[in-house]
Amino acid sequence: MQQSIWRGIKLVFCKELTIGMRFKAAWAAMFMFALTTLACVSMAMQGGAVEPRLLAALLWVSLFFAAMAGADRVFADEDTAGTLLTLHIFGPAQAVLLGKMLYTLFLLVLLALFITPLFLVLMDVAVAAPLVLLGTVLLGCFGIAAAGTLIAALTTGASVHSGLFSILMLPIILPVFLPAISLTAGAFGGGAVTVSYLGGMALYDFILLVGASILFDYLWYED
């Protein structure tokens, strides 16, 4: 990859981070959603024993919906601020896509680092395979970031942007979700861990990344 693209990715990432730190609405929405969900689930369960598979599903539902509260904003915020044209004029497509994807991934990993330990404590879960859990969470976050960034770009400008974003995300992210829930359940001690699922998630993430990269060029230049 050309050095200029790396530089562009870094610039877009730093710009997103600077704006995100000055205007914390997206961060607050994501983290408050996660906190509220966890609090509700924890209080509803009242310390009762829950199946590992159900626990895994609850963790991923919390992560996914918290991510939905912020991941769709990467392009919508540009549209609202009217800066999309500016970015179109100055920004090379790949630097814009990958910079924004990296920022979304950064946010999601932060979110996962916040949610997962809290979830484990509140739900009193013992982790049998911590490395599997870590790998699953990272690959899951990558998948959500890759798909989320592309779909956010596709749905920008649509009058029903948020609804469309969620509808389009679901089928694309299911191949990440299903093995993630299964692996997480395994990591929680709910049966054997099928390690090949991790390979499958990594492969699907890679396909999402390459697909997004190819599609985005058309979206950016041929619009």
Binding site: A81, L85, D217
Partner: protein
């Protein structure tokens, strides 16, 4: 030598024809004014030149030494000042320019930044550290000119560049556009200002439909 060619270009939106059968050949080193009443399609013509939209009929091409530039190549060669161009309101003038120019591989040093601000008449020290969301409309317009000047672009597309500027600002636009054309840049500007129109080497008049 860059040439923008409009060949029998027609544009329409929702069945309404904005302009039709426009033929023009614009060359580096010249200023071409696009004139016409409001709604006649001046801004649209600039967007067509930038390949931000496709014409309903006809062809728009940007050619350099007999080779047509691809869209992504063209994007790197042009700079625009339009009312739709916005800066990031939560970034300072310096952060905005450093980010945008950085995407083009241009480093914005402090000396260069200060020189740019002085050149476009934004000398106030607070300008550098104030987020652009707090700028007045005129200050934003001057900052757009700073981005234009610093972008080192071969094609300047200017949509009402003197809008929201005082007399000195309008004079600045005229002077910089002339200098850019003299340096070999292609300048295309949409205007309703008689002085800007008079300063151009050629004009495309859109009659409106």
């Amino acid at each position: 030598m860059i040439t923008i060619k409009f060949e029998a270009v027609t544009q329409s939106f929702y069945g309404r024809t904005i302009f039709q059968d426009i033929n023009a050949k614009l060359r580096s080193g010249t200023i071409t004014a696009v004139t016409g009443q409001n709604g006649s399609g001046k801004s649209t013509l600039l967007k067509l030149a930038a390949h931000f939209m496709l014409p309903a009929a006809g062809r728009v091409s940007v050619v350099e030494d007999a080779r047509e530039l691809r869209r992504e190549e063209l994007r790197n060669r042009l700079a625009m000042v339009t009312p739709e161009l916005r800066f990031y309101p939560r970034l300072t003038a310096r952060e905005n320019l450093a980010f945008l120019l950085g995407l083009r591989g241009i480093e914005l040093t402090e000396t260069k930044f200060q020189a740019l601000l002085a050149r476009v008449g934004l000398r106030d020290q607070a300008v550098a550290t104030t987020v652009t969301g707090e700028f007045s409309t005129g200050m934003r317009q001057r900052l757009k000119l700073a981005a234009l000047l610093a972008a080192e672009a071969d094609i300047w597309l200017l949509d009402e560049p003197g809008a929201n500027l005082d007399a000195a600002g309008r004079e600045l636009v005229l002077r910089e556009a002339r200098q850019a054309a003299d340096e070999g840049r292609l300048v295309l500007w949409a205007t309703n200002d008689e002085r800007e129109e008079a300063a151009a080497d050629a004009a495309i008049h859109l009659a409106g439909h």
